[in-house]
């Protein structure tokens, strides 16, 4: 019983890391993901359990930005679920209609859950994707920052 809180913390930590990996996969441009996946060289048999299939997710915002939720439209989303021969079940969800990306992402999620392959998945696929994404964000932020208005006060005459 004493170890229960520690287990819960470990679960939470593991969930956060898996979520971060899934976020990197979902955000990845399909071409980047495909290249990294091929170069990573995993030899794996993944049986499709569901999909890949495309559907809709209704998008929600909040009144005034932080108030009560409301629906403001929909987005296409593609998902897939696969099972490895060793039993791990991998899921993938991403905006858009790319089925191949969903299938590969689900396989990667399953490999991430397997203790023997997690480190390799992180190193060969997740870390490079996350690095590219944060570099792209930094670039876009720098481009936006260059358009920041620097106000200066003009001193007017009249003594």
């Amino acid at each position: 019983m004493a170890s229960a809180p520690r287990d819960r913390m470990r679960d939470q930590d593991e969930n956060a890391r898996r979520k971060a990996a899934m976020a990197a996969l979902a955000a990845a441009p399909a071409d980047d993901l495909l290249t990294l996946w091929q170069d990573a060289g995993f030899i794996v048999e993944a049986r499709p359990l569901r999909g890949p299939e495309t559907g809709l997710v209704t998008l929600r915002g909040r009144m005034g930005g932080g108030g009560a939720p409301f629906n403001f439209g929909e987005a296409t989303v593609t998902r897939a679920t696969v099972k490895l021969a060793s039993g791990e079940i991998g899921h993938a969800y991403a905006l858009g209609r790319d089925r191949e990306k969903a299938r590969i992402s689900a396989t990667i999620d399953a490999l991430w859950q397997r203790a023997e392959t997690r480190a390799a998945v992180e190193e060969r696929i997740i870390a490079p994707l996350a690095a590219r994404a944060s570099q792209a964000d930094a670039q876009s932020r720098a481009e936006t920052a260059a358009t920041r208005v620097d106000f200066f006060t003009m001193v007017r005459g009249e003594d």
Partner: protein, 368 residues
């Protein structure tokens, strides 16, 4: 007697074939690729996504190409497509305070945390046609100013500290937001449902209504508290995972309109608010939406309902351009039988009218 008439099959086939030809145009001119539309007609794509109510750039580009650039037709195509897909669920509400900001301006505060970021705007251009754009001149890479990320709180949170502005707008706990794609419209309509309708409403219609409030039809004294454009994360709760699954980011435009309000029997003097949230980079639409949102809240503040923009049913029932175009454009479809019946009716009425006229003049003559 009702007689069904058939015909026109060959004419329709050939018309569609002709449409395909005209859509392609001169074969010596290269065909447009979807990537070109997505990249170079990005704001048309954004408008089709927003009013088609479906975030998918490539589909919107396809719709624009198929519709020969007729955006309302493209929006119609997008709406029709979305009905073919199953629904996976409702996302968690997006957090616009955590947006990867590409533009952010405030007309109420000069100095605010995060600053005024103009981004890729048409503002301050001279609106002179640029002959260089007729060709394919080399375009400079954007200037950069590398910086660490800085928090960018929504401006309304700054104003809120003084207590002079109304809060964001809460709902009673436990209520699910309404969904116009699932339930028929009912009036009076709650604000959540109105916002959904406005977010996909026709930009031109909402722009005109917003303009009418500025010109005195439901005066609203608006200031742009803040406009921000950028990407927000989408997350979805799914039963198979113990955490909300990240789906990627979408671009949205948010407008916080702040309106001076002199108070009424119901509410003290304060700044009230209108809210706009639209897919893509759609600043004009988000501003119009926020002005319409505020005008439609007249009842909440005990204001007199005197203007079209304050009339929920007038605004919401006519804001959807797919519905509007369907009803207006159906008039051109064959109404031969309807018209024949009307023609008979008008002939009969005309006959009766002339008979009455004849009788009156005969009476007059007799009297003279």
């Amino acid at each position: 007697m009702y007689v069904a008439v058939k015909g026109g099959e060959a004419a329709i086939d050939n018309a569609h074939r002709l449409l395909a030809d005209r859509r392609r145009g001169d074969r010596d001119v290269p065909a447009l690729g979807l990537a070109q539309i997505v990249e170079q007609l990005a704001l048309a794509v954004d408008r089709v996504m927003a009013e088609g109510s479906l975030y998918d750039r490539e589909l919107a580009a396809l719709a624009i190409r198929q519709a020969r650039g007729d955006l309302i037709e493209a929006i119609f195509l997008t709406r029709a497509y979305r009905t073919t897909l199953p629904r996976f669920g409702y996302s968690r509400p997006v957090d616009t305070a955590a947006m990867q900001v590409e533009r952010r301006v405030s007309a109420t505060y000069k100095d605010l945390p995060g600053g005024q970021l103009l981004g890729p705007t048409f503002d301050y251009t001279h609106r002179l046609l640029d002959p260089e754009l007729a060709g394919d001149a080399i375009v400079e890479a954007p200037a950069v100013r590398p910086e660490a990320p800085e928090p960018m709180p929504r401006v309304t949170e700054i104003l809120a500290q003084e207590g002079l502005i109304e809060p964001d707008g809460a709902a009673p706990t436990g209520t699910e937001p309404g969904d116009i794609t699932r339930q028929p419209a009912e009036y009076p309509m709650e604000r959540d449902v109105r916002l959904q309708a406005l977010s996909r409403g026709d930009e031109g219609f909402l722009l005109a209504l917003a303009y009418s409030t500025q010109r005195g039809y439901g005066r609203s004294h608006p200031f742009v508290g803040e406009i921000r454009i950028g990407e927000v994360e989408i997350e979805l709760e799914v039963p198979e995972l113990p955490f909300p699954v990240p789906l990627g980011r979408i671009r949205v435009t948010e407008c916080q309109m702040v309106n001076q309000f002199k108070g009424s029997m119901k509410a003290p003097p304060q700044f009230t608010r209108g809210y706009g949230l639209v897919m893509g980079q759609s600043e004009r639409k988000a501003m119009a939406m926020s002005l319409c949102d505020r005008a439609l809240r007249a009842g909440e503040f005990g204001e007199d309902l005197v203007a079209p923009a304050q009339d929920q049913e007038f605004v919401i029932a006519h804001s959807d351009n797919v519905q509007a175009t369907g009803f207006v454009e159906h008039l051109k479809l064959p109404h031969y039988v309807d018209f024949q019946a009307e023609l008979d009716l008008v002939r009969r009425m005309r006959g009766e009218f002339e008979e009455r006229q004849g009788a009156t003049s005969a009476r007059k003559e007799a009297a003279e």
